[in-house]
């Protein structure tokens, strides 16, 4: 029981500019479910990709069944008995279940002709062992997500895996499907398979795992026995950071209420959320990943459609808006993934800034270059953006400067309310404090600002008031002297504790 089946010793992985894994060690025993937790960017996925042969480590060693091994690639890992079940399923929808289970490792004769009967037979056996309700001939594209996941798990049977790694397996499952998955995991466990379970959902982790290893900023914070620990401790290990930056807070000059929401709900994402924000106020929205923060603001902005609740704009109730209506009213949402949603990387600052407001910048559908340039110059100097010129492609700029252009883009519509989702994720420290100063400036000019962040010092540093969210609900509100790290951690973890009990 105690002899580890897989040991990771001092693994280090460096990406340009980031140390994704820093001397990471942990081990997996046969028949245990070992949780790997940490905030986004902590290095969980990188570590798993190293184990599954998708990344080559820059240092350290992997000891498997007592011997050091090199994992040459994904197929090699699978054949050795280490199986990664991806967050995004890695299946071919047009192929059959049997063909997917053995994807790339189909049984063939010397001439590459498939041994179809053998393929079907072995696949059926794996499916039966798992108690799947579908046969090997079904096209994978016609299966539900949960069933597709079972197809991936069936690979564990088919390749007699000794280590199975689940990366956020319940992300798109219903409660029923989740229960079935847990039964399957317990089945694997009973047969001595070592399981790594990566998840953001704490109740699941306390439900199914035996040990928990916490990663933060690429380093192991510690490994604990699940039964000897509590949510509070794990949460603390995950997010306890040191205050390493100086924050500017806007002067408190609050005006009228700009936005209020009352009882806003969306099934499975957030429920019964009510709050308001005033002119000149910075409202922080804190919670761990998966708490429903982004979903909430997307619903306010109209990217998602809420099921119930009312939104008030400047005191009057409005219909749930579309994004266009939200923009026209004076809302701006700066999304988290700026590369996907915020910027056209091939274009320069001039074109990106005018992109959401093409009407303003054109006459009879012809773009006015001079207007564009004037606006570009205004924001480029106001936000101190470093570029070589108005047409330098976004892709050549640093993350911090890109983020400033995202802000410029929304600011030039002169919004009344600006929502910033993780405004400083992935940008360097210098740019971070520039963004923080900017937030304060905007608020002092009378804008209402909502800041979503997973970084506790940032939320505490820039906000006048903080709402904490957990599992889709606003669980607490802190002002003034109550705004401390301790209180925020308690709010986020206690709620989860009562939920899991």
């Amino acid at each position: 029981m105690n002899a580890a089946i897989l040991k990771v010793k001092g693994i280090t992985k460096v990406f340009p500019g980031v140390k994704a894994l820093d001397n990471v060690s942990f081990d997996i025993r046969p028949g245990e479910v070992h949780a790997l937790v940490g905030e986004n960017g902590a290095g969980k996925s990188t570590l798993m990709k190293v184990l599954a042969g998708l990344h080559k480590p820059d240092g350290g060693e992997i000891i498997y069944q007592g011997e050091p091994i090199q994992v040459a690639g994904p197929l090699d890992a699978r054949q050795k008995g280490i199986l990664l079940i991806h967050q995004e399923l890695s299946l071919s929808p047009e192929l059959s279940v049997a063909e997917n289970i053995y994807l790339g490792a189909w049984p063939t004769n010397r001439f590459g002709v498939l041994k179809k009967r053998e393929l079907r037979r072995d696949a059926s056996r794996a499916l039966e062992a798992l108690g799947c309700g579908f046969g090997p001939d079904v096209r994978v594209g016609t299966l539900s997500v949960a069933m597709q996941q079972m197809v991936e798990i069936a690979r564990a049977e088919a390749f007699s895996a000794n280590v199975v790694i689940f990366d956020e397996p319940t992300a798109s499952l219903t409660d029923n499907e989740k229960d079935q998955l847990f039964q399957t995991i317990r089945g694997l466990k009973a047969r001595g398979v070592g399981i790594v379970y990566i998840s953001h959902k704490m109740d699941e982790i306390f439900d199914i795992t035996d040990r928990i290893t916490v990663l933060r900023d690429g380093q192991v914070q510690g490994t604990v026995e699940t039964q000897d620990t509590g949510l509070n401790q794990v949460t603390r290990m995950m997010i306890g950071r040191t205050l390493d930056a100086y924050f500017v807070k806007a002067k408190e000059m609050f005006g009228a209420k700009v936005l209020s929401v009352d009882g806003l709900s969306k099934n499975g994402q957030f429920s019964d959320v009510s709050f308001s924000v005033r002119e000149g106020e910075v409202l922080g929205l804190y919670g761990l990943v998966g708490a429903g923060r982004s979903e909430l603001v997307e619903a306010i902005f109209g990217v998602r459609r809420a099921d119930a609740g009312t939104i008030f704009w400047k005191g009057a109730p409005i219909e749930l808006p579309t994004p266009r209506q939200a923009i026209d009213m004076g809302m701006a949402l700066v999304p988290e993934s700026r590369k996907e949603q915020g910027l056209v990387l091939m274009m320069g600052g001039r074109e990106n800034t005018s992109l959401p407001h093409l009407k303003q910048f054109s006459e009879m559908a012809v773009m006015s270059r001079s207007k564009e340039l004037a606006t570009y110059e205004k924001y480029q100097s106001a936000l101190a953006i470093k570029t070589t010129g108005p047409d330098q492609a976004m892709s050549q700029l640093s993350g911090g400067n890109q983020q400033k252009f995202v802000l410029a883009k929304w600011l030039c519509a002169e919004p009344k309310l600006i929502i910033l989702d993780e405004p400083t994720r992935g940008i360097d420290v210098g740019s971070k404090s520039a963004i923080h100063e900017l937030i304060a400036e905007l608020a002092e000019k009378g804008l209402a600002v909502i800041v979503i962040s997973s970084e506790m010092p940032e939320v505490l540093g820039v906000s006048h008031r903080v709402l904490t969210m957990s599992e889709g609900a606003v669980v607490a509100e802190f002002k003034g002297d109550d705004m401390t790290e301790e209180n925020l951690i308690d709010a986020v973890s206690h709620h989860r504790g009562s939920d899991a009990a």
Partner: protein, 325 residues
């Protein structure tokens, strides 16, 4: 989760229906056959059907290779030019080395050009549309250089007798087409290479993650496509007795039309030779039928364009419920 047990004939019926839903081009084909049979007394005769099969076989052979490449999610625009080069080599080299070695060299030229296409696509990361567009122009230029801008004539007339072999009303050309279509259908459904083709076209990340050598795989399929283009070119030169430098011009487009008409999608991961055969025959029937009715050439083009769009709308409605954005 228990499957409801259908009674056997019901299940056979639903299997047949779902086959027709995926291969709806065959319904379309049947429809066009009925329409032309009514419209022209000459259409539904053994002789005419034999003609249709022979005429369709040339685009058909190109379409087989194109299908392999398109299921991979790629495209090959150079097949018309490869065809012209192979036919020119097969005829031009006969005087120096005899018929069969010349044919072999023609085939080899197609394989080599397909290999180059595939290598460029796989190693450079450029899209195959761009790579083979370049090949289309470059190879055509090569043909003009080799032929000196003149049609090459056959000297050894045993060469032109080969396509005169018939089994019943069916020409050797048509038989070669069907035999190869069936062979590659078998490759797709029963070999490792076939599974790889679907896997690569469907979800290239998953295929790569599963340890499939995606690059080598794509090179093989482009080589197949080039070789088949050469086969088509040689058969064409046998039938015509000449190799024209302009042979096969815009045939790459007709080939893509036939394949797409069959229901194969440009984004890859999906399709079969049954679909391709259906598309090829439908195209051949339309051409033949419209000519029997003495339709002017431009009307013929308009009708074919309309049919193509109609077939694609039908595909969208039948197979996606029309709900895709």
């Amino acid at each position: 989760m228990s499957h409801t047990m259908d009674s056997r004939p019901n299940r056979a019926l639903s299997a047949a229906l779902s086959w027709l839903l995926r291969n709806h081009i065959w319904v379309f084909l049947a429809l066009t056959v009925v329409v032309f049979s009514v419209a022209s007394p000459y259409f539904l005769t053994v002789h005419n059907i034999g003609n249709i099969l022979t005429q369709g076989a040339f685009i058909g052979i190109l379409a087989i290779g194109m299908t392999m490449v398109m299921i991979d999610g790629e495209i090959d625009l150079s097949v018309g030019a490869i065809l012209a080069l192979a036919s020119a080599l097969a005829i031009g080299l006969q005087d120096h080395m005899g018929v069969w070695p010349a044919i072999c060299l023609g085939l080899l030229s197609g394989a080599a050009l397909g290999f180059v296409n595939g290598t460029l696509v796989a190693l450079s990361g450029m899209h195959s549309f761009v790579v083979t567009l370049g090949a289309l122009i470059g190879i055509r230029g090569l043909v003009f250089v080799y032929t000196g801008e003149n049609a090459l004539m056959v000297q050894d007339f045993s060469y032109t007798e080969i396509p005169e072999i018939y089994i019943g009303p069916i020409s050797i050309t048509a038989i070669i087409f069907f035999a190869m279509a069936l062979f590659f259908q078998w490759v797709l459904s029963s070999t490792r290479h076939g599974r790889e083709t679907y896997a690569v076209g469907d979800n290239i990340e998953a295929a790569h993650g599963a340890g499939i050598n995606v690059k080598r795989h794509k090179i093989i399929n482009f080589t197949i496509c080039g070789t088949l283009a050469a086969v088509c070119g040689i058969l064409l030169s046998m039938r015509l007795g000449t190799a024209e430098p302009n042979a096969g011009k815009v045939w790459e487009l007709w080939t893509i039309i036939a394949v797409v008409l069959g229901g194969i999608r440009l984004q890859g991961g999906f399709g079969s030779m049954w679909m391709t055969i259906g598309g090829v025959l439908t195209l051949a029937v339309l051409r033949n039928g419209l000519r029997l009715l003495n339709t002017p050439n431009y009307v013929e083009l308009m009708v074919m364009g309309a049919v193509l769009v109609l077939a694609l709308v039908l595909d969208k409605l039948l197979n996606h419920g029309g709900d895709e954005r």
